[in-house]
């Protein structure tokens, strides 16, 4: 475990360094408060620190105060080293944000025991952070496929639509639904159905760019948000996604299964400023059309022309077909 020693006294630094190295710590030693703050910053910084009370540049308690102001980094367990014994000092030191203090010259066994206390606290923090990350993952991801869950993918879509309007670019929405999925479940059981869903999720993720979003919208429905998508390439990309499902059968416990997906495709630039829910209902209609049109295909959602949108468009143009 890494540990920082900040002490302007070379003798004390050497003694601490050797004692702690021998105890198995990876020691980083600096000689003033500014250097201590620098050494405690960054992603790989030590999380244990022994800070001398009186140091040039910045005394130990000021270093503690400075470090405690940070919110975005992991906890640093800080022990102040003091050679004074007055009560006020200790109270002020602990109130500056130090976790503990040690009177110099220290006893090596006591020092090591107090550092173990620090390690216990840091270990506790690690476990809490890990649990929080797990909870966060569970709260935002679909547990079967690990794709974004419905709530999150809708939030992401809303955000992307706002951004694409602001930046005047196109967001493409693909709503895909596996064809005859109920039959897979009914014939081979839900476990096989789950295997299919997991493999479909994997293929969808592989068929989009790292900054696109893929979510599980419902049972066998997937919502894919293609960010900053060129309108003329949207259909090609939706076709690629469709093909990623149907070109190879999916291996399951019940053998290789042929699976296809029907999709609705919608380009935000075709629809002006409309809320995400509206667009979802439009792309859902296109998906329905793809189903009735024979499945395993992509149907583009186009707005029905209103009298205003017809102005200037000659009769018989692309829009009216």
């Amino acid at each position: 475990m890494k540990i920082l020693i900040a002490d302007d006294d070379a003798l004390s630094r050497r003694l601490l360094e050797k004692t702690l190295t021998r105890a198995g710590y990876e020691v980083c030693a600096v000689c003033n408060g500014r250097q201590a703050i620098e050494a405690l910053s960054g992603p790989d910084a030590p999380r244990l620190a022994l800070l001398d009370w009186m140091m040039p540049e910045l005394p130990g308690p000021a270093v503690c105060t400075e470090i405690r102001k940070r919110r975005d980094q992991s906890y640093v367990y800080m022990i102040l080293l003091t050679s004074r014994e007055s009560k006020e000092d200790i109270v002020a030191g602990l109130e500056s944000g130090a976790d503990d203090y040690l009177v110099k010259p220290f006893n090596a066994d006591e020092l090591k025991a107090r550092l173990r206390t620090g390690q216990r606290i840091l270990h506790l923090e690690d476990r809490l952070v890990e649990a929080r990350e797990q909870m966060r993952f569970k709260a935002t991801h679909d547990h079967l496929t690990s794709l974004w869950n419905r709530g999150v993918i809708m939030d992401l879509l809303g955000r992307e639509l706002t951004r694409s309007q602001r930046e005047n670019v196109c967001t493409a929405i693909v709503l895909g639904d596996l064809d005859h999925f109920k039959k897979i479940n009914d014939t081979h059981g839900h476990q096989v159905g789950d295997q299919v869903l997991r493999e479909v999720a994997r293929r969808l993720l592989l068929s989009v760019r790292s900054y696109d979003f893929v979510g599980r919208y419902g049972g066998e429905e997937f919502l894919i948000v293609l960010n900053n998508c060129r309108p003329d390439s949207a259909l090609g990309r939706a076709e690629q996604i469709r093909k990623s499902i149907c070109t190879r059968p999916i291996q399951t416990d019940a053998g290789a299964l042929e699976v296809t997906m029907s999709s609705g495709l919608l380009l935000s630039t075709d629809w002006g400023h409309r809320p995400a829910d509206d667009l979802i209902s439009e792309v859902d209609s296109a998906l329905y059309a793809a189903k009735t049109d024979g499945r395993n295909r992509v149907q583009v959602a186009k707005p029905v022309p209103t009298p205003e949108t017809l102005v200037g468009i000659p009769i018989g143009s692309e829009r009216l077909r």
């Binding site: 003798l11 050797k18 050679s83 110099k104 010259p105």
Partner: protein, 120 residues
């Protein structure tokens, strides 16, 4: 020369502190020997111009070094000099510094003797 007879340094305590590591003991004594003269010079100059803040700072640093070397008499002497400087009793600083220098008498030869011993 038998260093124990002068007993400025509590060798037993110092050996526990370095965990019987002779290399570390030699390092500590060398660091002290190297750094002490400039500390003492700063202190002498600060006393000459009655700079209480500087006297407090330097004697505090020396107190820490002496304490680490288990030189308790010297540490106590540096500590009282520090306290005096902090309390602002400037008139007695010169006398206290003289006492401090007297208390240090014998410490340096003792450190040299130990250094010679650990170098063997």
């Amino acid at each position: 020369m038998n260093p124990a007879s002068t007993a400025n340094i509590n060798l037993a305590e110092l050996l526990v502190r370095v965990d019987n590591d002779r290399d570390l003991l030699r390092d500590l004594l060398s660091i002290f020997k190297e750094e002490f003269p400039s500390y003492l010079r700063s202190l002498q100059q600060a006393v000459a111009r009655t700079d209480a803040a500087e006297i407090a700072r330097v004697s505090h640093a020396l107190k820490g070094m002496f304490a680490n070397l288990a030189a308790s008499k010297a540490a106590a002497s540096a500590s009282s000099l520090e306290q005096l400087a902090r309390s602002g009793e400037t008139p007695s600083l010169k006398r206290a510094f003289a006492e401090f220098e007297r208390d240090l008498h014998g410490l340096l030869p003792e450190i040299d003797a130990y250094l010679a011993e650990v170098h063997l």
